[in-house]
């Protein structure tokens, strides 16, 4: 699968004010970068649109997007499932 890092980070930066000027720390909680319940919805919608995926209900939980690393992992998994 192609590397999604650039698109993924662009997507995060569109919604997270604190992520804009800095390198994204993949292990930091996204809440510390300004993610709240409303921006979480916007980020997930944008990820779905950007990568043409759909988060299933069981993935619509906080754990999916607690950190950038976990969210990227979820996006990659859904892309792989879709490709197979």
């Amino acid at each position: 699968m192609e590397d999604i890092t650039t698109q993924f980070e662009e997507c995060l930066r569109r919604h997270l004010r604190s992520a804009k000027p800095n390198a994204i720390n993949y292990d930091m909680e996204l809440a510390q970068l300004g993610l709240d319940s409303m921006t979480a919805v916007a980020v997930l919608l944008d990820m779905e649109k950007t990568f043409k995926i759909r988060f299933p209900d069981e993935m619509l939980v906080e754990g999916t997007f607690r950190t950038a690393a976990r969210l990227k992992q979820a996006v990659q998994k859904l892309r792989e499932q879709q490709a197979s």
Binding site: S18, D36, S37, L44, L45, E48, L60, V61
Partner: protein
Amino acid sequence: MTRPLPDRSLGPEWTILELLARGIADDSEHQTVRDLLLTDTLNWGELLEQALRHKMLPMLAHHIMSENVRFEVPTSIYQHLESVLEWNRWQIEVFRREAVRVAKKLTSRGIHFVVTKGIAFESTLYGALGTRYMNDIDFMIAPRDREVVLTAMQELGFRPFFEWAKDARREEISSRLNRDHLPKLARDVDQPGVRLINVDIANSLTWTKSPFDVSVEEALEHRVEQPVPGMPGVSLPCFRPRYQFLFTALHLFREAWLQKFVDFGNDVGLMKFGDVIRLIDCYGAELSDGELLRVMETHRVSDPVAWVLRRLDDTFHTHTLELLALENHGDEGLLASQLQSSGYVRASGQSMRERLQSKARGSLREVAPAHSGT
């Protein structure tokens, strides 16, 4: 005790709405509203627009109908207000019947629940006059009952509201993530003028990830039965006044404090402040007997409640902070540190009164110009 009248710097239209929101207390206030309605320079377009924005059109309509000023009001506006009031009364009647239908179902399942907000306030705080506007029927349940209630609602024909929403996927994701409510529910009805009934079922007195909370289970232990107007012998459970007050004040805090509610056009309105004033006017004895204070201290919600009341007092010239002994609470800096939220509405010196009156809610960081007066 006579309350100070609002200053008129924001125009006669705004003064009328402020007086109606807090409730007309005496003949002097009655006369003031009447005089303002008959002011030559009254801008009816502005009055109607602001009443609509603050969900007060039925209340304004009722006041005008009962003032016997038919021939002083432009005919087309008077007729429109008459129909607004009639329609609101009809919708309330439909909502009451539906609330009773849902209540019977939940009771049959052994669920502890209450009705909240409009459906609870309309018949008590607003005198069952059909003047309190409501978008939906609000219930509160305990988190443990979410699945049982969702199933029961589906059996009654309700489906997730996002099926009707403009952006269905956004609504769906939002409802899955925000566990303080069930997904918004709706059902089509075959009633003239009311095509859809929305039901909002909360399971928290605050919101997801809020640092403040009041146990729903505790609040549900303090239910009282409230008669349903027009349905003899039928009642609906609601919180006893101190928990009604807490829920209403904390709900107002949430909408006032969090930027996301402004962004989504769900910012605070005059009517919500009016609910708090009327709760205190109606149940002042119970709310000031010390027990409410104890509950607030136990759950550490004195600061957000006081923050709301300070703005309410500043806006409406009330003395609620003093009445509830919260003068030393509500520090904004302390709240900001407790919430640590990037979504905090920083209004750049704008007072709550200016914020309420401003039509540029999306740009709250800019101070909106005050009404120039007429």
